[in-house]
Symmetry: D3
Subunit: 183 residues, 6 copies
């Protein structure tokens, strides 16, 4: 029902339970890729897993203001983008995202994250937006680099899944950075 | 952030905490009219009251799927429209709404409620949508009548506020009615 | 332990867990009839279902003042009568009931509901008591009609069970009606 | 609404919120006496205190099966009697009571506690009923002694109020005792 | 991590989840003896049962100040000792304990309970410490008797397990007793 | 009651409510220093604030295994040290600490944090321990540097208090680092 229009073909949509089947389908189609980078992408990912994501996303939105939106290109779900750990005291949040293979290489996630930045810095008046990427996930790291985030550090062995500890490249943009960028 | 576009100028928007000031302002401007018809419109209506409405609305959306959207005309809040008592067992819901005086007489609420009907009957696949109007509220009653709802009964003395018991005209539309209407 | 005496042979009793076996037995004996009219009467109705009814009834009584009493004729459970949706702001409640076939035709439920009316209007000082009957349930509709309730409307397709949508005849009595009736 | 009849004039009644005023009045009339023996009888006992007792009593009844009933003589509240610590594993409960001065000396509480015993041993099938009395409260201790309870011990300095530690005389009756008594 | 040293070889330790395996092992080794006296010692006692004990013990400590510590002799778990029903209004608590067969006869539990007494009377400033022993458990009764507790009564048939009702010998020590004892 | 001995004079103690007065006193004596570095050190810090810290610390310990211990030197409270964000999936935790001015310069906190490391890496079998220090807090940064933690990055403007955004120096030690250090 509720969406945020980015351009003629692209929008962010607050997920509702009737999206569960389509979300599960696109996750399953991209499972091999997703399994490399996110712990929630497991071989038993199902429509119930998607429902769980939707319920959690709406609950976070209602209770804390965080949201996980689905990315829709030409009326088809192609990924998700949102933020969590919204902290109004310290005026910060963490952005996260993933995109189906078929939709990559068109700048869609860069546009989506720029829209999130605009919302977080301009509407919510935050001071700091952080993005954590697996150090080996080159495509994911390209987003904050393209948007002008600064690499602040490498956190070693900070996340365990697929039987090994992964490192994070931690990027952040400050409000003062955002205001200098020509968006 | 998230909205449902009805036409070029009109949209339904899921309220967030940053809307509280504007909601409180428009409620206070229309307080004399609203006090006649709804129990929540009281002389002490404040930004905190609006925040309470927003929190409750988002919580209902997350937990039960009900929502109370704000109606925005040309980027200005002019009312609210939504539904509650969503009942997936009996496939029914109750629609409610109010509109600022300055925005009345232009068919905005008829369009908004038609959009809600489309969502409830077509997307949510409900079978029955009910609207309860105070029996003396002629403008409010015009909405279900214009949309083709059927008057099913008068519930006497069913709501107490402003020191008297008010009657409700109870309207309902069934899915079979909706499908016959030329929307 | 606790009862409300209606006449020498008839009383309303607040159910306790030790009543579960007898309640389940009388529900199961009347299952064919009950299944036509109430969604909770299902083929797997058991002593646990009765315990659930008892716990819910006592919890409602403790938290909201609503109760579901069992109807006892000559020390034998023959049905249930009570009210729910007690609303002290709008001074209203909804009455509901069912009676075993063997006990029908003796005016027992009319007496029981008159006792509930006396409690709701006189002790609780309510203004409106509502009874919703399935439109086709002639015996059930006879109760509010005999007691002087007014038919306020027909709500179409408002309840789904047994694979079809049923209509409700909605009856209500106001305090001003009750005081005119010669009880 | 709901009561247990002991004899023509005497009954135990499950308290409801509309009893709060009368309960508060009788407690306040007997405050000097009650303050000697029970910690809840304080100088600021009010209608709200009575409402709190009623809510707690109904909640205990709904959740655990314990109750605190009011004792009514000729339609006037004259005390309370009930039980707590209902333990279905060990088949035991603790009985407690108090009586207004004007109603004392007529055997009312002995009758009331005999009715509680009948309920606890015969209906609930318990094995042990305990009564704790302040060691100096001669009138209170007379009840278990008259009913055939056995004094099992003296618990020293076990309850603190009114700025000193009081001792308890602990009485108990077993099911085997109850069945020998000619009630 | 956290312990209370009694002497060179003996300490009380707040249990943590990593103790579960060792606790389960010592309980299982002593099951025949424990089954005679405590209801929680059952044939299916497992590492999960020990985890449940640990979680409950830590929760009680955090929320109410009660604790159940494990008794460690030369870095080996040999029993448990602690208190429950801490009551700051009436300044009282109940002490409980058990000891593995191999560790009995060395005065370890007498030392442990003396340490608990010191904590309860001196640090927590309580007025009364109670110990309930099964009347037939001679070894358990020796502890309060050796420490100078007074036998206050015999509670008949107060605990049901192993298919029969057991009696309790109830012992208590008052602060005034404690201060007279030469500890 | 419960403590972890580091050396003859130094121990970590799980705080209990009876420590509140002494904790509040030492915080207030060190308030000017603490206010520079931690948001909870405010001008209205009171015994109630200390009680809140204790309750939260015990609750975290019981529910999640995290703890905040008090550091005791020669029976006097001189600071606190503990860990939070215990994450058993990713096998990590964050250590935090503060020390009274009078106790600084003696290596007490280095010893305390080495004890925490031993507990986290050896007993809890974690893989990563993180310490976040305000970038300007030289004394605090000396602890992880002395213990062999690695500086992984600088998080800019990540914490807001005292009316400005502070930066964090983020240090971490891995299990593989710990095992190489000669402790």
């Amino acid at each position: 029902m509720f969406s945020y229009k980015i351009d003629e073909n692209l929008k962010l949509v607050l997920p509702q339970l009737h999206h569960a089947e389509e979300i599960a389908a696109v996750v399953r189609e991209n499972l091999e890729q997703l399994k490399l980078w996110v712990p929630w992408a497991t071989d038993d990912y199902s429509v119930d897993s998607a429902r769980e994501f939707i319920r959690k996303s709406l609950k976070e939105f209602a209770e804390k203001g965080n949201f996980g939106a689905i990315v829709i290109l030409n009326e088809k779900i192609v990924g998700a983008a949102g933020f969590h750990k919204l902290d109004l005291t310290n005026k910060s949040a963490h952005v996260g995202y993933w995109l189906a293979k078929e939709a990559q290489g068109k700048g869609l996630m860069t546009k989506s994250c720029r829209a999130l930045n605009a919302y977080l810095f301009d509407t919510m008046n935050l001071n700091r937006v952080q993005i954590n990427c697996n150090i080996e996930n080159v495509k994911s790291r390209a987003i904050p680099e393209r948007l002008g985030f600064q690499l602040e550090g490498i956190h070693r062995q900070i996340e365990f899944f697929n039987n090994h500890f992964g490192d994070w490249a931690v990027y952040a943009m400050l409000k003062e950075d955002w205001e200098k960028v020509d968006n």
